[in-house]
Amino acid sequence: MSYARRALAVAWKDLAVERRSKETLNALVFFSLLLLFVFQFTLGGDRERLAAVLPGVLWLGFVLSALLALGRTFLVEREHDCWEGLLLAPGDKSAIYLGKLAGNLALMLVVEALVLGLFAVFFDIDLGRALPGLVVVVLLGTLGLAAVGTLFAAMTANVRARELLFPVLLLPVQVPVLLATVKATEALLLGEPLAAVGHWVKLLVAADVVYLAVSLLTFDVVLEG
C-alpha cells in the first residue's frame, strides 16, 4: 500500500517542516488575535448586535485564516525548489494531494479551535450546548474549503500574482460552503439542535464529496508541471 505511505510521508513532511519552522502557525495565531481585537473594538460593546453578527464574524475569521494557510500549501516546495521533485515522483499524484490536504486540515483545525476558544472567552458566549453541532459544521466546512483550496493552491503555485489569483478563484466556488456554515452556525448559536440545520449539513456533505472527488481525479493533471 505505497499510496497511503506516500500520502502519509507528504503529510508528515509538511507538519514536520511546520512544527520546526512554525512560519504559518505563528502567522495564523497572530492573525486570529488581530482579528479578535478588531472585532472586539468594533462590536464588543453591544450584546444584541454582537449576537446577530457573530456567526458571520466567526466564519470570516475562519475563511481569512484558511486563505492564509491554503495559499501557502506549496510555498515550502517553491522556496526550497522541490516543486520539480514532486512532479517527477512516479506514481499516482493524488497521494500527494491527500498528504497536502491532511496537512492543511490539521493546521486549519488547530487555528479554528484557537479562534473559537478566543471568541468564546472574549465575547463570553456560552458554547456549551451548541458545541457538538458546531464541531460537525466546522469540520465539514473546513474540509470543503481545504479540498478545493489545496487543488487551487497547486494550480496557482507557479503563477504570477498568485496571492491575488488564489482568493479570486477560491471564494466564489466556496459560496455554498460559506452560506451553509454561516447559516448553520447562526441556528446552532441560537440554541437550535443540529437536526434543525439538517439541510445545510446535507449540502456540506454533498459539496465535500464533489470537491474531494474532482480534486482527486484532476490533481494529476494539475501537477504535470
Partner: protein, 239 residues
C-alpha cells in the same frame, strides 16, 4: 555496453513564444555510456534536459527513454529517471536522513533505515546525517541529492552542471561516484560548462549550438585544450 540506445532523441524542436530554442536536436545514449553536453548559455542545454526529464513537452519531434515517450508516457519514464538539477530538492528544515527517507517513500521505494544510512555513507554524509540541511554547504546539498538519486538506482541519470561550485576534492569524489553508476549500467547525460578533468567521466562530447547538435564525438584521448578548440570551432560556426 549493449547496442540498443536507452535514450533516443529524434529531431526535437522546442519553441518559447516565437523563439525556437531547440531546432531539430537528435541524440542517442546507450546504457553504461556518459555524454557531456556542452554549449553556450541559452543554447538550450537545460531545455533539452527538462524535456528528457518530462518537465517540458517538445513542440515537435520525439524523445524516448527505454522506449517510453517522455511526452506521452511520463509516468513510465519517471520510474527510470534520476535527476540532479540546479535545485537540490532538499527541505532545509528536515535532516539529511529525513530528506532521503521522504524522497525514497515518495518515489515508492521501500528504502529501509539501513539502506538510507548506507546511501548517506556512500556520499560521505554519515556524520551530518541528523543535522538540519539548512546548515549544509552547496556541495553537501549536491551530495545529498546525489544520494537521493542513487537510492532509486536509476537507469538514466540527468545531471545539470553537477560539478559547479565543488572544490577539487569533491569534484574528484563525484567523478568516482559517476564512474560507479556508469559501471552499474546507468546512462548519463551531463550538462556542463567546464572543459577540465570532470569530462574524464564522459565517453562522448556533444556540443549544442544554433538549436542543434553541432558536434557529437567520442572523447577518446582529447585533452582539455583539444576540447576547448573543438568547442570554440563549433560554437562560432553555430552562432
Amino acid at each position: 555496453m549493449n547496442l540498443e540506445p536507452i535514450v533516443r532523441v529524434v529531431d526535437v524542436r522546442k519553441v518559447f513564444g516565437l523563439v525556437p530554442v531547440l531546432d531539430g536536436v537528435s541524440l542517442e545514449i546507450r546504457a553504461g555510456e556518459a555524454v557531456a553536453l556542452l554549449g553556450a548559455n541559452g543554447a538550450g542545454k537545460t531545455t533539452l534536459l527538462k524535456i528528457l526529464a518530462t518537465l517540458l513537452r517538445p513542440t515537435r519531434g520525439t524523445a524516448t527513454i527505454a522506449g517510453h515517450d517522455v511526452a506521452r508516457a511520463p509516468e513510465a519514464v519517471r520510474a527510470l529517471l534520476g535527476v540532479v538539477a540546479h535545485g537540490a530538492w532538499v527541505y532545509d528544515d528536515l535532516t539529511a536522513r529525513e530528506n532521503l527517507k521522504f524522497w525514497a517513500t515518495l518515489g515508492g521505494l521501500a528504502a529501509g533505515a539501513d539502506e538510507v544510512t548506507a546511501a548517506l555513507a556512500g556520499v560521505g554524509l554519515e556524520r551530518a546525517a541528523d543535522a538540519r540541511v539548512r546548515t549544509f554547504s552547496a556541495g553537501m546539498k549536491r551530495r545529498l541529492s546525489l544520494a537521493r538519486v542513487m537510492l532509486a538506482r536509476p537507469r538514466v541519470l540527468l545531471l545539470d552542471e553537477p560539478f559547479a561550485g565543488l572544490d577539487q576534492r569533491a569534484k574528484k569524489w563525484l567523478e568516482g561516484r559517476l564512474e560507479a553508476l556508469k559501471a552499474a549500467g546507468a546512462a548519463l547525460l551531463m550538462v556542463t560548462h567546464s572543459f577540465g578533468r570532470e569530462l574524464g567521466v564522459a565517453d562522448r562530447l556533444a556540443v549544442l549550438a544554433g538549436g542543434r547538435i553541432a558536434l557529437d564525438t567520442a572523447r577518446g584521448s582529447l585533452g582539455p585544450d583539444d576540447i576547448q578548440r573543438l568547442y570554440a570551432a563549433h560554437t562560432e560556426d553555430g552562432l
